[in-house]
């Protein structure tokens, strides 16, 4: 299972191990191949991009993830205002050349599929639904727990980070 630690102050720490990352990326690759989508992004609801596939070289996917997360957040507030008790599960943006299909994966993650208008929405829906099932299974699988015990942030790290910040901000 993806480790989600709740820190004392209430903030959330999400930790993804190497195996999970590889399996997630595999699901995205499969989705990209089957749908011919231009780009596929998997990100967390706070806006952090986790993995991407497709022709994303010319696309600022970091910003795209941040905007998509806000899109979700804004529409879930809209849901409340119009009397929808659950969150909206998917968002669809229709353009002249390209469409964007966004769907949540559990409460904490989401998938963005960017595709040409020549690709039918039905095809995207079917394969995205399958990918979401696969991704949910990976996120819930607890067979790989315990591999992330290495401490990433120690006191040495914070000193070095302090120095790096000084260099960057001078």
């Amino acid at each position: 299972m993806v480790q989600t630690k709740k820190l004392k102050d209430g903030s959330r720490q999400v930790i993804l191990n190497g195996k999970q990352y590889d399996t997630i990326t595999k699901v995205l690759t499969e989705l990209a191949n089957k749908t011919k989508a231009s780009a596929i992004l998997f990100a967390d609801m706070s806006g952090q991009l986790i993995s991407q596939r497709g022709n994303t070289e010319d696309m600022n996917t970091t910003v795209l993830s941040a905007l998509a997360a806000s899109d979700f957040a804004a529409t879930s507030e809209m849901a409340k205002l119009v009397g929808e008790e659950a969150k909206f599960k998917l968002l669809f943006h229709e353009g002249e050349k390209r469409n964007v299909y966004l769907s949540n994966v559990g409460d904490n993650f989401f998938l963005v599929v960017v595709f040409d208008v020549s690709v039918t929405l039905g095809l995207i829906r079917i394969y995205t639904k399958k990918a979401i099932e696969d991704l949910s299974a990976i996120l819930e699988d607890d067979s790989s727990d315990g591999v992330t015990d290495e401490i990433m942030i120690d006191s040495d790290f914070s000193t070095l980070l302090g120095n790096a910040l000084d260099d960057t901000f001078k």
Partner: protein
Amino acid sequence: MFINWAQQEINLKIVYYGPGMSGKTTNLEYIHSKLDPSLKGDLVSLKTKEDRTIFFDFMQIEVGRIKGKKPKFNLYTVPGQVYYASSRKVILNGVDGIIFVADSQPHRMEANIETLLDLESNLKQDGHSLENFPWAVQYNKRDLPGAEVVDVLQKRLNFFNVPHFEAVAVKGDGVFNTLKAVINLVVQNVQNQL
């Protein structure tokens, strides 16, 4: 905080919070103007025609690799105006550290207090509290004539005695110091939990 072991990445989300026109976007614009292009992404601003933030500003910055790990800082601002309350709430999702940008002008004191209470109430809904959350106060617009004395601002706004900084964000004074302090608080906070 999001840690991706496969990519050796640590992602932190820092939010600039504060009343309207206090200088949150200006902080980001200054950082963006000064950083080496290899260490920063685009600065995205969702603004109204009048140049006011309608949803948020966003920018990702990096500092290179540290012990093989790549820390990335995602900086966001919230819209300050009272009627964008729900936008402010949603930007706080997954936040790791907060910079409260207060306006030093005496007539903005009430707006500062109101926004701080709004922040506390939004944090509480997510199970946080200002009392033990990593945050700092930046007293901005120190150059304006008639700016309130820092002691008064401290008494009215900094009731948890968090680090505070005097700033003139348009000139960049205090901008990096505030950001660095909050990043340090976030890192300390993570260490304390281990």
